[in-house]
Symmetry: C2
């Protein structure tokens, strides 16, 4: 992991920077206490170096963001945009001497329109806040990353985040219709539209989704909504092998089913969840599949899906009786990463997505890697998408174990690429995987991506050292 | 309409160009007969100037496309990529002395995978051919432009085309997972993935969708498929005013319904269809709404939707009894543009998309414009998307009427922008609307779009004079 270190500015330079920032921001929006600014240095990724910010700014208006970017451009100071810092790839990590631009105070929902099925929001709105607000209008904002109670829409846009819903409803990218973006030089650009369709020029909106704050600062988003679906009903299916569970996934998808959720937890994960929360999940099983439907007749749909699970070798198929039981099963799934973290104190969470027909090979290969490195690696997966989160559990105080953790983490990405997959399904590249990005997209791809970066940010001030 | 004219190369230059092209292409793939090449000059748009191609090439392989682009770059000859030339904005029109690069012979379906729900295709595959092929595997490729029996997937990607399905299934962009692209200098770049999800780097795939051949040549596409839905059942609702029909559309969408189709035909269109095909549609109505569901119980869903239509003032609501009756109603809709063309011999088809809550104002305003210019303007609309196709009928032999047609066409776009809409929902910008693109996206947007163009095509050889 090489990270471009930017030399920390001298105090005088920082003083000048702060003075200039205060020319367009209220005092309470400019944080300079090193203890405070240090607390903004990291997101939630392991193994990602972070520098010391010169200053943290917390603007409330578009004009204030423009002022920050104009100041940064004039003084040639790098800017690291941040949401709630729940990211898992170091994409929000500070660099030495940077301005941390936290968008968390721009947290207004500006509009919810049930006829046009859109919401207009500021970037700092928390995902769960938006979800609940649109629910009240009979609407649904699908993207639901595990961190949905904390993470912001701006962060979700920056990393193009996914969640449990994607197997039916797709990822964040599919819900972003238009953006207001403050460019590196402080100019404001609008992309996209508030209409259901539109093809006027290049799709800059989608270019920004997943760009990890490296092309501009999203200050407003027009989001597409769906009608709120019926409550989903969940089924749990136990399998005596990961291979059998993956076979079931293939049969379900090949059979034309559209579950609203299709998740997999391996035995390591199930055990970790039981250890943490005493949920009484079946530990004798090698793989637990959770499936759900939010259709008009979910019980009937689950019955058909359950039959496919049995045909693929499920040892037990248990549909939930009601919404409450469904919610309990989902809680177990949502606790997975926290539970795996408790195993050894620290985790590295891979995010490899493979064609779902290769899911079985991915699971098998991950098991091999865990054995090779003598590590506990729990696998939770958005199985319906082929998106696996092999989670390496390790003791960060143990240098040798830490080294093995990092190596196994990388080997899992190599396996994903071998199987025709991608190094990241929904967590992004950040600092953690930037060497791997080049391996995935190749030299021509990298060159064209850099050319786009240069077109938007010729001085290289926006989130330097990320992605490439 | 100003179009950059490129001076026709001298015969010697053309001779040299053809010789160089023949160095990497079989003779039958290089057309030079002026009568033949002239037949490749235009797509289906009116009022779009077109030049005389120097040569038309019809490669069958990626390597041949690379050879064409390398030759073009060496000799600085512009290249105009083409599919079936069914486009409606002049985006495929030749420029003087250009190489027309027709992708129609690269028409193989390389893979259909029901577990991964993807198809891998060459750009020249006809939309209907792909649709039928995936149907046989129980799968569904939703994008269904009116020209689906002729248009190619490559053309669909170039214009990000839509269709009747979009109200439920979205546009082409949502079905393109990955691309192989030959760049202006002949290098091959792969974008995207064959997985359900992926966020490795900037979304170049989506950048190419809708780029009208101005950034590179798509030579292979990985497309997402859905399970084939049940056959849809259609309902027709008659309204005594366009406003009432639009009110029904708003109530339907606000009510959380997800029809698989929600189309509007105004009286002018209904009459034109009857005149052409004697379909016996109700001519006393001011607006006809067609709605469909492809759900498990379409009759029940149509009944609920029909009740909303009645509440909004429908004078008659007639659900189809079966698939055959449904198909008849859809045929009427699909004949609309042909029927309107028969009114005066020529049409200009607008493609303004407005927030669906503004659809009523759009219809009303279009009527006002028709009166002002003393023209027949029939409106068909993907009403559920707010995507209207006001179709100006005129006699191209009458210079005054032609002038009025063009002016009314532009005034309709101005109205769309006023209502918070876009100048193009699914047909693209091409030559026809390039001055309007700047009006819609503003100077900063244009500057950034040009910067992207320059990054991919520094010599400006790819489809010059389009978009900007």
């Amino acid at each position: 992991m090489i990270m471009s270190r930017i030399e920390a500015p001298r105090d005088e330079a920082t003083g000048n920077l702060v003075d200039r920032l205060l020319g367009g921001l209220p005092t309470e929006a400019v944080l300079t206490d090193p203890d405070v600014t240090a607390s903004y240095a990291n997101d939630m990724a392991s193994f990602c170096p972070a520098g010391a910010p010169a200053v943290v700014v917390l603007p409330r208006t578009v004009e204030q963001v423009q002022h920050v970017m104009r100041t940064a451009t004039e003084l040639r100071v790098p800017v690291v945009p941040q949401g709630a810092r729940t990211g898992l790839s170091g994409a929000a990590n500070a660099t030495d001497g940077c301005i941390v631009l936290s968008l968390t105070r721009m947290d207004r929902i500006l509009e919810i329109n049930p006829v046009d099925r859109i919401a207009v929001v500021e970037p700092g709105v928390v995902n769960a806040t938006l979800s609940r607000a649109v629910n009240e209008h009979g609407l649904y904002y699908p993207p639901d990353p595990s961190s949905w109670e904390m993470c912001t829409i701006g962060g979700n846009i920056g990393t193009a985040s996914g969640g449990l819903c994607c197997v039916k409803y797709g990822v964040t990218a599919e819900y972003v219709l238009g953006l207001d973006v403050v460019l590196a030089d402080g100019r404001l650009m609008s992309t996209g539209r508030r209409t259901a369709k539109g093809v006027a020029g290049y799709d800059l909106t989608r270019l920004f989704v997943g760009s990890e704050g490296s092309l501009g600062i999203v200050v407003r988003a027009i989001l597409a909504l769906r009608p709120r679906p019926p409550e989903q009903l969940v089924l749990a299916a136990e399998f005596a092998s990961g291979a059998a569970a993956c076979e079931a996934v293939c049969r379900i998808m090949e059979g034309g089913h559209v579950p609203s959720l299709l998740e997999l937890m391996d035995r390591t994960t199930v055990k970790a969840v039981n250890d943490l929360a005493h949920m009484g999940l079946p530990e004798t099983t090698e793989a637990l599949l959770l499936a759900a439907f939010d259709t008009a007749d979910p019980a009937a749909d689950l019955a058909a899906l359950g039959a496919l699970c049995e045909a693929a070798g499920a040892t037990q198929v248990v549909p939930a009786d009601d919404a409450a039981e469904s919610e309990l099963l989902l809680q177990a799934r949502r606790l997975s990463l926290t539970a795996l973290e408790a195993v050894k104190g620290t985790t590295m969470i891979d995010d490899v997505c493979v064609p779902r027909s290769r899911l079985g090979e991915m699971l098998e290969g991950t098991e091999r890697i865990a054995e090779k490195y003598q590590l506990t690696i729990g696998v939770v997966a958005h199985a319906g998408d082929g998106n696996t989160h092999p989670t390496v559990c390790f003791d960060a105080q143990d240098p040798d174990e830490s080294r093995r953790a990092r190596e196994s983490f990388d080997e899992i990405m190599a396996l994903g690429l071998e199987l025709g997959g991608t190094i990241t399904g929904e967590h992004g590249v950040g600092v953690l995987k930037k060497e791997w990005l080049a391996r995935e997209i190749g030299p021509v791809g990298v060159e064209m991506q850099r050319a786009i970066k240069a077109a938007f940010d010729p001085l290289g001030l926006l989130n330097p050292g990320k992605l490439f």
